[in-house]
């Protein structure tokens, strides 16, 4: 584990409340990280950690809904489902049962810009997990009869998602924020586009996108590096090469409609306020993360304190800085009684405007940083979390940013917060979405 042993500390200053802290310990997310690249272009990252006899095998494929045409909306997600429905060597049910019978877990997620697979198992299963991952990535059977069955499952998933106000609210917010259809669409697609998926289309998409040059493999845990390398080469050497350039979507703000309202059979109102932010690589994001925590994380945050605890206007409220390879979203999300909705929006507007006259205090900034620091380290506590963080940064070729994240975050100043607030959260950039009862 990449941690410096902590220094012995003295508690000499016990009497003074302000001094009652211990020295900070150093930590490097990349310590012991080894990279190899196979002949076909596959990038592989290993990080050995022998504290627990477990391994996490994760693959990040650079394909998501931004890579789909409008007619194909949802195809990446369909593919993610179908990959688990059997490979050249395994039946669908065997795959999940094998992992479960080891006490492990496997799953996947599809987003705008990537599809992420993971298999977490005790170390005895490491070799098998590597082989299984390779089969998922380039030997999925994609059988037509399985697609017939799975299509219904996905249509059901879309239906269920449409019943979830928070998911629909997110779609609405993206419609209010962006002009490009590709950024407005839900990752899961639409019933008509999902129904139109053919086996041929699916196969083509798999061949085009699931290539070695488009994929990052990360393995963390208790495993011998030399053997691991042999296993990885054995399993992935034959993965087809290939790399695609992704069309850039700038994320233009729509000229006119910046507010979306939808009526649904809901008991309370759901409100989202959003602002467009630059791509994830932009150096402003650490400050935006701190700003999101100052505004909307925990009871001590401005939004929670003012709108929920003091004015009792909302049931819940939060803020988040959501980054992507392309344009990101700074969002504020609340739910409240229907009658309070207008007042809630007004209160949020006032609160953001007030940032100018009463910038975040040192105590507010410190609170935000400490909360973010805890969650950041918690992300590295499990082999699963670590492989996930390494993979998501490696996929975009920004591993150095992973190393720099915490020091940059901790050095954010009040002035920087002020600057990013002015730059991104201005009145003119405001977009919003609301779901409420008709």
């Amino acid at each position: 584990m990449p941690v410096n042993k902590s220094q012995p500390v003295s508690l000499a200053h016990q009497g003074n409340e302000g001094d009652r802290t211990l020295p900070q310990a150093a930590f490097s997310p990349l310590a012991g990280l080894r990279t190899i690249q196979l002949g076909n272009g596959l990038k592989v990252f290993f990080q050995v950690d022998s504290r627990h006899p477990l391994v996490s095998v994760q693959a990040w494929v650079r394909v998501g809904s931004v890579d789909e045409s409008n007619a194909d909306a949802g195809l990446s997600h369909v593919l993610e489902h179908m990959v688990f429905k059997g490979t050249a060597h395994h039946q669908a049910a065997d795959i999940s049962r094998w992992v479960e019978s080891l006490g492990g877990s496997l799953n996947a997620e599809t987003s705008r810009e990537y599809t992420h697979y993971y298999i977490d198992v005790p170390r005895e299963g490491a070799h098998q997990a590597v082989k299984l991952m390779s089969e998922l990535l380039y030997r999925a059977a994609l059988r037509p009869e399985e697609w017939q069955r799975e299509c219904l499952v996905i249509l059901e998933e879309i239906k269920r998602r449409n019943d979830d106000p928070e998911a629909v609210l997110w779609d609405l917010l993206n419609q209010a924020l962006f002009k490009e259809i590709v950024l407005q669409r839900p990752v899961i697609g639409f019933p008509r586009t999902v129904r139109n998926v053919t086996r041929e289309r699916l196969h083509r998409f798999y061949k085009d996108h699931y290539t070695a040059g488009q994929t990052v493999l990360v393995i963390t845990g208790d495993v011998d590096e030399r053997r691991l390398e042999t296993w990885v080469r054995g399993a992935f050497d034959k993965m087809p090469a290939g790399k695609r350039e992704r069309a850039r979507t700038p994320g233009t703000t729509p000229p006119a409609v910046r507010h979306r309202l939808m009526h649904q059979a809901v008991q309370q109102s759901y409100v989202a306020i959003g602002f467009r932010t630059p791509p994830g690589i932009d150096p402003d994001h650490e400050a935006l993360d701190v700003l999101a925590a100052v505004l909307g994380e925990g009871r001590g945050s401005r939004l929670v304190h003012t709108l929920r605890e003091s004015k009792k206007l909302v049931w819940s409220i939060s803020a988040a800085n959501l980054t992507h390879e392309g344009p990101g979203v700074f969002g504020i999300f609340a739910d409240c009684e229907a009658a309070r909705r207008v007042e809630v929006t007004r209160a949020i507007r006032t609160l953001l405007r007030n940032l100018k006259v009463s910038p975040a205090t040192p105590a507010e900034i410190l609170r935000a940083k400490k909360l973010l620091e805890t969650s950041w380290f918690q992300g590295f506590e499990t082999i699963h979390g670590r492989a996930g963080l390494i993979g998501s940064f490696a996929l975009e070729n920004h591993l150095e940013r992973l190393e720099a994240y915490l020091p940059r975050l901790l050095s954010v100043t009040s002035r920087q917060l002020q600057e990013v607030a002015n730059r991104y959260l201005g009145e003119r950039s405001w977009s919003s979405a609301v779901i409420e009862a008709a």
């Binding site: 584990m1 941690v3 042993k5 902590s6 012995p8 500390v9 508690l11 016990q14 009652r20 802290t21 211990l22 020295p23 900070q24 310990a25 150093a26 930590f27 504290r51 627990h52 006899p53 477990l54 049910a93 999940s96 049962r97 479960e100 019978s101 080891l102 006490g103 492990g104 877990s105 977490d120 198992v121 005790p122 925990g298 009871r299 001590g300 605890e309 105590a363 410190l366 609170r367 940083k369 400490k370 909360l371 973010l372 620091e373 805890t374 380290f377 918690q378 590295f380 506590e381 499990t382 082999i383």
Partner: protein, 409 residues
């Protein structure tokens, strides 16, 4: 693992482990629902909630603000046998985190306005049990199986008892039960033990030990004779079948065997009941079972969520399957697979400092040795298929209680 005791009786466990620069603490108090008399139903949980509602030095809001300022969050849970609280924080903030933890444990003041808020919250949560078909079924099952025994009531209590608690009740419960001599403090960090010892002595030294002897839990419930079946109607469109037995308490013989049997039958997607009833026959959409670790007589319960039309046939199938298990037992392969699964999940579960601190406290509470972690796999492996089947035979021969939840119309 370092273990020591303060003069006030507090047991402290410290695991000095490398890893991310965070420190986690769990405080477990040996008090829960099990120590309540019937009129006190819900008092343990109510009191636990109120510890965050204000101390002599801090209002509820200030408690929240201080704990967040060290990058932590603090929650308190009450369970049947114990209550626990804890936090995780960047390592340099451990002393301040411990100061807040000690403050809420030693000095709560139970402000009336906060009592009213908490009561409304608890009553709402009791009402919301009606929104969960599982809760409806299990509340009835446990009520029938345990009778007056506290395991027969929800941890949150009952509307009529919760409505009657005053500040005096809460204070008395805190004074009698939340005592150093009743508590275990478990810490996981990378600091030298001496540092931890100093922080703990400083913060928890002043905690008072109990003046009265600890309350004895009530007598174990008496098993019923003959199979029982109860039907109740609900507003849900689905049906639910919950069936089970009283089962051994922790430390009694047969616990591990029953854990394995429970995993073979109802543990996950590869379990026998799930595969047959759901995957092969499509009779139920939810199939599972549980056997919680309890200080007193536990329960072993199997449940199915299904459409009302399939209830009859699913029930018949389930009966046949349980008979088959009683007669022929489970296979060597099933036992092997269950063992793998249990050992694997045991490892997966215990990677974070927060979970590791919690488990250390939990094992101490259960009276298990501090090397339990390292002997777990060996213990599991030492159980033979024959032993599992002997327990299956014995358990399944006991009288069973079944609750059917069916739609109103």
């Amino acid at each position: 693992m370092h273990r020591w005791k303060l003069p006030n009786g507090l047991v402290v466990l410290y695991a000095q482990e490398p890893g991310v620069p965070l420190a986690a603490a769990t405080l477990l108090v040996k008090t829960g629902t099990i120590h309540e008399t019937p009129v006190e139903a819900g008092l343990a949980s109510f009191t636990a909630d109120m510890l965050l509602a204000g101390t002599r030095r801090r209002s509820a809001r200030q408690i929240g603000a201080t704990i967040e300022s060290v990058g932590a969050r603090l929650g308190i849970q009450c369970a049947e046998d114990y209550s626990d609280t804890g936090f995780i924080t960047p390592i340099e903030e451990l002393p301040r985190g411990m100061e807040v933890l000690a403050d809420i444990l030693l000095d709560p003041i139970f402000p009336d306005a906060e009592i009213r808020k908490a009561r409304a919250h608890i009553l709402a949560s009791l009402r919301s049990r009606e929104d969960s078909i599982f809760a409806i079924a299990h509340d009835r099952w446990a009520g029938e199986a345990y009778g007056e025994h506290p395991y027969g009531r929800p941890v949150d209590g009952l509307a009529k008892t919760v409505g009657a608690f005053t500040r005096d009740h809460l204070r008395a419960w805190h004074r009698g039960q939340w005592r150093a001599s009743q508590a275990i403090l478990s810490i996981n960090a990378s600091l030298p033990p001496a540092t931890i010892q100093a922080i703990v002595a400083d913060r928890f030294g002043p905690w008072k030990s109990a003046t009265a002897p600890a309350r004895e839990p009530p007598k174990s419930p008496t098993p019923w004779t003959g199979d029982r079946r109860r039907e109740l109607s609900s507003r849900f469109e689905q049906a639910y079948v919950m069936t089970g037995f009283l089962a051994p308490a922790v430390g009694q013989p047969n616990c591990l065997e029953l854990n394995i049997l429970n995993t073979v039958l109802g543990g996950g997607m590869s379990s026998r009941l799930f595969v047959q009833l759901r995957e092969e026959l499509g009779l139920a959409y939810e199939v599972s079972s549980f056997f919680p670790t309890r200080r007193q007589t536990s329960e072993w319960v199997i449940y199915l969520g299904l459409s009302p039309q399939k209830r009859q046939i699913a029930t018949e199938r389930l009966e046949r399957m349980l008979e088959a298990v009683q007669r022929q037992g489970v296979t060597a392969k099933e036992v092997q697979q269950a063992k793998h699964m249990m050992k694997g999940s045991f490892l997966m579960e215990r990677q974070t400092r927060r979970r590791r601190a919690w488990y250390a406290a939990w094992w101490e509470f259960l009276g298990l040795r501090t090397d339990y972690e390292h002997t777990y796999a060996k213990r599991i492996d030492s159980i033979t298929r024959e032993a599992v089947n002997a327990v299956a035979k014995k358990m399944l021969a006991q009288p069973r209680l079944t609750v059917d939840v069916v739609p109103k119309h």
